[in-house]
């Protein structure tokens, strides 16, 4: 009976060709790292399911959006879990898609006949970036609103049509409800539709054109025809080929399961991303991008003022220009890592840059900020009265907004403790009244009376004897 029903279903739904052409086919052996594509597919699945559930409760209207996110996180049954999974699998997608992309550059996965696979992949990469960015904005907390403004400020730099682009994105002359509604439509309809089409196309091309094989990496391949021959030999060979289902699926399924496990663990341990206060344009705020964009933010912080305004427009265009043109620009017959040292160096450089800049941004040593709390005195040390008064003035006059004291506070300007007594009282006083040209410090001339100045100088002088903390 079961066999009969099964046969009926297989016949009437025409499943046999699917099994023959898709599952029970020979493919070249998969490596441990080639499960990244399946992992992305699995993560996308998590995004679609959790996203659909979130859309059932989320309110895309500016006056209730934030409250609906609070409701999902705090009151809805398992809402925190769904939001957490949506957030962490988005983050995982950013990491895995970067790995996936760099791996294709490393092995020359973009070379013929896989240009189509590469190009659809680049479009998908763009889609994932757009999703990661717009998703962040839908929370409609204060970070979201400043995130939108940062994007608008990048767009306004585009020559000629800058202001029109801003109006297009914000949906009118001001940031407001129309902005949120547009972002929502973008995040849940337009980009997902695009992704659906592109994923289907990308996977179809992966099935038909395959992924880069061991044989291709070992010998030069001069034409698409030569590659196809090599590919066929490889997949049919006893030694280097395997059957897609279940062997390949099992291997890449393992990778996907591992990453999903990490996503679930992060959700359970850390929960969904923190919500800040509701979107507003009035309160003081320290906005920050999601961790997956930290490297970019760190890079922007390091740019000299001459380049910075152009960079934010030119850099994304340059990256995607490079990615789109890559298969047409690099047409040498060699693939794999051994014969392409420059590409290996490029990928290593990119990885080092991303990690290094991420760490730089995480430490954020470049941002000054007011702090009412005077710097602490080292344990067991007592300051003379003048210096003690100077310590209070140090905070009152905002010196501690930039200057750390023996490692405490913002680390934007010099820490006097690190000078180890090299600066005389006269020198300090001169500096306070008239900082040298090009130094980012305001002149305090006319703001301090004689006593205050002496006290401040005294404190800065004595700080030089503070033990510098590690």
């Amino acid at each position: 009976m079961v066999a009969k029903v099964r046969a009926w279903v297989v016949d009437r739904f025409a499943l046999q060709p699917v099994y023959d052409k898709l599952l029970n086919r020979r493919v070249p052996q998969a490596h441990w790292y080639s499960g990244d594509g399946s992992t992305l597919l699995a993560l996308l699945g998590v995004q679609v399911v959790t996203g659909a559930v979130l859309a059932l409760t989320y309110s895309p209207a500016a006056d209730s959006a934030y409250q609906s996110v609070v409701y999902i996180t705090e009151k809805q049954t398992l809402g925190w879990l769904i939001r957490g999974l949506h957030y962490w699998s988005a983050g995982a997608m950013m990491v895995v898609v970067t790995f996936h992309l760099l791996r294709q550059i490393l092995f020359a996965g973009y070379k013929s006949p896989r240009e189509g696979t590469w190009l659809t992949g680049v479009v998908l990469f763009l889609c994932i970036l757009l999703m990661a960015y717009t998703g962040y904005l839908l929370r409609w907390d204060e970070r979201a609103i400043h995130g939108i403004r940062v994007m608008l400020h990048m767009l306004v730099r585009v020559p000629l049509i800058g202001e029109s682009l801003v109006m297009l994105v914000q949906g009118g002359p001001d940031i407001g409800p129309t902005t949120l509604t547009r972002l929502y439509g973008f995040h849940v309809l337009i980009v997902p539709l695009m992704m659906f089409l592109m994923v289907a196309f990308h996977v179809y091309l992966v099935v038909v054109r395959g992924t880069i094989t061991r044989a291709e990496r070992k010998q030069p391949v001069h034409s698409a025809e030569e590659q196809k021959q090599l590919y066929d030999q490889e997949k049919e060979s006893q030694e280097h080929g395997e059957t897609f289902y279940p062997v390949t699926v099992f291997k890449s399924g393992l990778t996907a399961t591992l990453v999903l496990g990490i996503v679930i663990a992060l959700t359970l341990i850390l929960g969904p991303s923190k919500l800040f206060s509701e979107a507003n344009l009035t309160e003081a705020s320290i906005p920050s991008e999601e961790w997956w964009f930290w490297w970019l933010s760190g890079m922007i912080a390091l740019l000299p003022p001459k380049i910075a305004p152009w960079f934010v427009v030119v850099f994304p265009l340059a990256v995607f220009g490079f990615l789109f043109l890559l298969p047409f620009a690099d047409r040498s017959p060699v693939r794999g890592v051994r014969k392409r040292p420059l590409w290996v160096a490029l990928v290593i450089l990119i990885v080092i840059l991303i990690l290094g800049l991420t760490d730089y941004r995480r430490r954020s040593t470049f941002t000054g900020w007011p702090d009412a709390e005077p710097p602490p005195v080292p344990v067991g040390m007592e300051l003379p009265p003048a210096a003690e008064r100077g310590r209070i003035l140090f905070a009152q006059y905002g010196c501690n907004s930039c200057h750390p004291v023996a490692g405490h506070g913002r680390k934007v300007a010099v820490d006097f403790a690190s000078l180890q007594g090299q600066m005389s009282r006269d020198k300090i006083q001169e500096y306070i009244l008239q900082p040298p040209a090009g130094v980012a410090m305001p002149s305090y001339k006319g703001r301090l009376n004689e006593d205050e100045l002496t006290a401040l100088v005294e404190f800065c002088h004595v700080v030089q004897t503070f033990p510098l903390q590690p």
Partner: protein, 159 residues
């Protein structure tokens, strides 16, 4: 000459494209229409009584923003008012001129700090540190019967 088969395929492709255009072009126009929605004239808003801003100091002020008819969110925003002399007032946008992160004014050092990438501006609005290269945006302002007013539309739409 085209044969029948060729004619049919031209008809199908042309007809299909025409049908798609009939729906697609208006859809596209409607979608991007905010881009050319006019932002004309002036939008004057109260920023507070002039006498509430002490001479020589920078003080935040909250102004109502322009809004759509059905909008009930983000109704106001902070600007910084610098009263340079008896009747010379400068009103700064709170935007950093690099990427428009919200600045905070530090009364101690009399500097504006940007929370994002280390931009610092002086009281005079000039950039002192970090990526910004342009001075702070200034709203056009006027004083009417002791009331300080600013023109929201005197600055670009994202400020």
């Amino acid at each position: 000459m085209f044969d029948r088969r060729k004619w049919l395929s031209v008809l199908i492709q042309g007809g299909g494209a025409a049908l798609a255009a009939v729906v697609g072009i208006p859809a596209l126009l409607a979608a991007i229409s905010p881009a050319w929605r006019p932002r004309r004239g002036e939008q004057w808003r109260h920023a507070g009584r002039l006498e509430d801003f002490p001479l020589g100091t920078v003080k935040p002020a909250i102004v109502e923003v322009g809004r759509d008819d059905w909008a009930r969110s983000l109704e106001s925003k902070t600007v910084y008012v610098f009263r340079r002399s008896e009747d010379d007032v400068v009103v700064y946008s709170r935007n950093c001129t690099d990427l428009s992160c919200p600045l905070v004014f530090d009364a101690g050092s009399e500097c504006f700090f940007c929370p994002c990438h280390g931009g610092i501006f002086g009281k005079d609005g000039k950039p002192m540190a970090g990526p910004p290269s342009k001075p702070l945006y200034r709203y056009v302002n006027r004083v009417r019967e002791g009331e300080l007013e600013i023109d929201l539309y005197s600055l670009p739409p994202m400020t």
